[in-house]
């Protein structure tokens, strides 16, 4: 008897404690957890979502993340793709709002061009050095 009373009290206690741990509401965005019906469109949306950063869990793409804001972003991407918008236009729309950080696809800008230029310069430099060294040796070999 006392035991069942105790468990009843415990249950009531737990029941009233739960609302204090209120969780974020699931996004009402329609395509957060639903794929597009058209497979070609879904494929395009998926490719774009894999190259967009979740703003909350910043190491993940919005395709991988379960954060609610990522759900909102997925739905935004899918709805716009379904409306016939170009994936790169959607990416630009997001970059306009969040900066380059939101995109995993690097762009060449006034800030990032050295990242692309330096490897090319190093390869050319290596080529020039090797040619000087081995070119000279070959000449020597022809003489011998």
């Amino acid at each position: 008897m006392t035991r069942s009373l105790l468990s009843l009290l415990l249950a009531i206690g737990l029941g009233t404690a739960l609302p204090a741990l209120a969780q974020e509401e699931q996004s009402t965005a329609p395509y957060a957890y639903r794929q597009l019906d058209n497979p070609a469109e879904e494929e395009r949306a998926q490719a774009l979502m894999e190259s967009l950063r979740c703003l909350q869990c910043q190491g993940q793409s919005i395709a991988d993340s379960d954060a609610p804001i990522a759900g909102s972003m997925r739905s935004l991407v899918r709805e716009r793709i379904a409306a016939g918008e170009d994936p790169e236009a959607i990416r630009s729309w997001l970059i306009e709002r969040y900066g380059d950080y939101v995109s995993y696809a690097p762009r060449i800008t006034s800030l990032t061009w050295p990242l692309f230029a330096v490897p090319l310069v190093l390869v050319l430099l290596a080529f020039a050095l090797l040619r000087r060294r081995f070119g000279a040796k070959q000449d020597g070999g022809a003489d011998a």
Partner: protein, 184 residues
Amino acid sequence: MSDLPAHKPRRWVIWLPLALFLGFIALVLIGLLRPADRNVASALVGKPMPAFDLPPALPGRPGLNSKVLTNGTPHLVNIFASWCVPCRVEAPQLAALAEAGVPIEGISVRDSTENLQAFLDENGDPYQRIGADDDGKVQLSLGSSGVPETYVIDGKGKIVYQHIGEIRPEHLGLLLDRLKEASR
């Protein structure tokens, strides 16, 4: 070894790889030891507020249309939610701002009417209007990456400042300064 080029490299050149390596180590150490800023700021600061029209978050209260932000007086737009703990922390500061006569408009993100009502009953209600952004689209269109965030909008609807995270007491002066600048 005898077929190496005859000319010797200059003496300092042999130290060059070590110097480069140490420079690289220094760079890595700086990157490791300096705490990185993980906030994603909106790129829309200095640009006009995107147009939106949100339905009321509470019955009997007005929703939020971006047109009210162009009525000539500066506004604060506070992005918040009942499920967000820092939003509770900033509630007294928002109340103080509302008391100082600052019009505060709310955008409630991914929330429900019951939870929102309970949150306002508990923490006070400084808002003139509260728009319900249930799918988070307006939050995305403003370049906001989380809650709470507070935007200062000048009388013409231009975003002049974005405050990321909760407003603590020490931020009040800064926000009031920004509002004063915006009213000029």
